[in-house]
């Protein structure tokens, strides 16, 4: 299976290549990708250099253009697609069907991957994207069990990529608007969930309080591991309970299911985290690369350090081993 690794900066890109990535995915410095964070991402020239560096090392570059085009501003996305193709991107990762149509008709030879943001998770949806736009690969939403993934793989005519490690969203990828209810911005449209401009932290005695757009969304006791300041990972008072209403601050880790995913016919494993630093990229990529190449009994030992990098310093296999009805 291929190892698909994140890069938010050229330095992280180089770390990913060095640590053993088969492909690195990245985006431009604007709202055309779902990690539109301050100081992050690539200029056109940085992308061109990254692609060249990757090719020199036998590593592919995938460019994420995985937000939905704003009416009246479609040119921003079309230009980004033009520039990604011109830079030599080995694939573009798209969510908006109109952008898929533009790329497949303008650049019929360009490899097209369907982003997790497109939220395609059944045979008919995937078949439509393959037949209409020539999609070669689909990144599956993190909502399916391993047997469901295996069933899909048997019945679709494209490669499947699944998230293996990193941040975990509520199970409505590409459809989640929670962030926009409070901040007016969402990952689907502006490429940013709970934008940093709306986040504040304050110390309250030994506690750390996180606020989003003026609303208190969490309070962490002294030395309690923290999470991202997103609404889905906020702690709320509901009836007589205080707790996580949507999901706990926890990261995805499905490396225990590596053999099952391989048997299921999965082509590629994706690491989440373009917003993370190059140290995260280097450590996670090298650990997963070592685990991929290790015999099953030696695998866990290769991954022991990763929980410390995780949100809330905990991991879960999430829906991959769904234990709820």
């Amino acid at each position: 299976m291929e190892l698909i690794c994140p890069a938010g900066t050229p330095a992280a890109f180089r770390e990913a290549v060095e640590a053993g990535a088969d492909a690195v995915y990245c985006g431009f410095r604007d709202e055309t990708n779902a990690r539109n964070f301050p100081g992050l991402n690539f200029t056109r020239e940085e992308l061109r250099q990254a692609v060249a560096h990757g090719h020199a090392q036998g590593v592919h570059t995938y460019v994420a253009l995985n937000t939905f085009m704003r009416a009246g501003h479609e040119d921003l996305w079309y230009r980004a697609a033009d520039d990604a193709v011109a830079a030599g991107a080995d694939a573009v990762i798209l969510a908006d069907m109109a952008l898929m149509d533009y790329v497949s008709s303008t650049y019929p030879d360009q490899r097209l991957h369907v982003s997790v943001q497109a939220s395609a998770s059944n045979v008919d949806a995937i078949a439509l994207l393959v037949e209409s736009f020539g999609a070669k690969r689909l990144v599956l939403p993190r909502v399916l069990t391993v047997p469901e993934i295996a069933n899909l793989a048997r019945n679709v005519d494209c490669e499947l990529e699944v998230f293996a490690f990193g941040g975990l969203c509520v199970m409505a990828e590409g459809r989640c608007s929670l962030s926009s209810y409070v901040t007016g911005q969402s990952p689907n449209m502006q490429g940013v969930c709970s934008p940093a401009s709306h986040v504040r932290y304050r110390e309250d005695g030994p506690d750390m309080v996180s606020e989003l757009a003026g609303f208190t969304i969490n309070r962490f006791g002294k030395d309690e591991p923290a999470g991202y300041p997103t609404l889905c990972k906020g702690r709320f008072h509901i009836a007589d309970d205080d707790g996580y209403a949507f999901e706990d601050p926890v990261s995805l880790d499905v490396m225990e299911h590596l053999d099952a995913l391989r048997s299921a016919g999965v082509t590629a494993l994706k690491i989440e985290g373009r917003q993370r630093g190059k140290a995260y990229v280097a450590q996670v990529v090298s650990s997963l690369r070592a685990a991929l190449e290790a015999p099953k009994e030696a695998r866990a030992q290769k991954l022991t350090q990763l929980h410390r990098l995780s949100e809330g310093q905990r991991t879960t296999a999430g829906a991959y081993e769904k234990k709820w009805r």
Binding site: G8, T9, P10, A11, A12, F37, P38, G39, L40, P195, A196, S197, V199, R200, Y201, R202, E203, M208, F220, K222, D223, E224, P225, A226, G227, Y228, P249, Q275, R276, G277, K278, A279, Y280, Q283, Q305, R308, L309, S310, E311, G312, Q313
Partner: protein, 164 residues
Amino acid sequence: MLLPRPLSLTIDKLPVALVQRVVNQAFHRALQQHPDLFDRLGNEANKRFCFAPTDLDFVFLVHPESKFIHTFRKAAQPRADASIAGPMLTLLALLEGRIDGDAVFFSRSLSVTGDMEAMLALRNALDDCSFDLPRDLAAMAGPLALPFRRIAEVIRHRALKGMA
């Protein structure tokens, strides 16, 4: 990992003017070595960033646009748009991109307050910069550059091991 107590006590006894002189030299030398350091900041370059080592009595205020760094005693509480506080060696490791900022934040080893958009932009700018402080600052030690670099590398190695 905290600075050894005798070392932090010794540093704390230094006059502010002397610390400012050394820090200012190091800051401008780093800017010479990495002239594109603040490119990723965009409009955030006009913000004032405060770095507050929790194991020292000094804080450092940086204004990227005017390329100044100013040293204060902690009690002075200089006004900043965004602040980051944590052990000195953790802040230096972050500066070099040797550890992941989010992971350190999750572990509660550092705290951030103020304008998070500015702080995130600065974090990403630093992370892309490939600082290597022993290498970048060795020349400041003049004829002792090589031993300075070797000692600094040993200290860094031990500090990073302590954070693992």
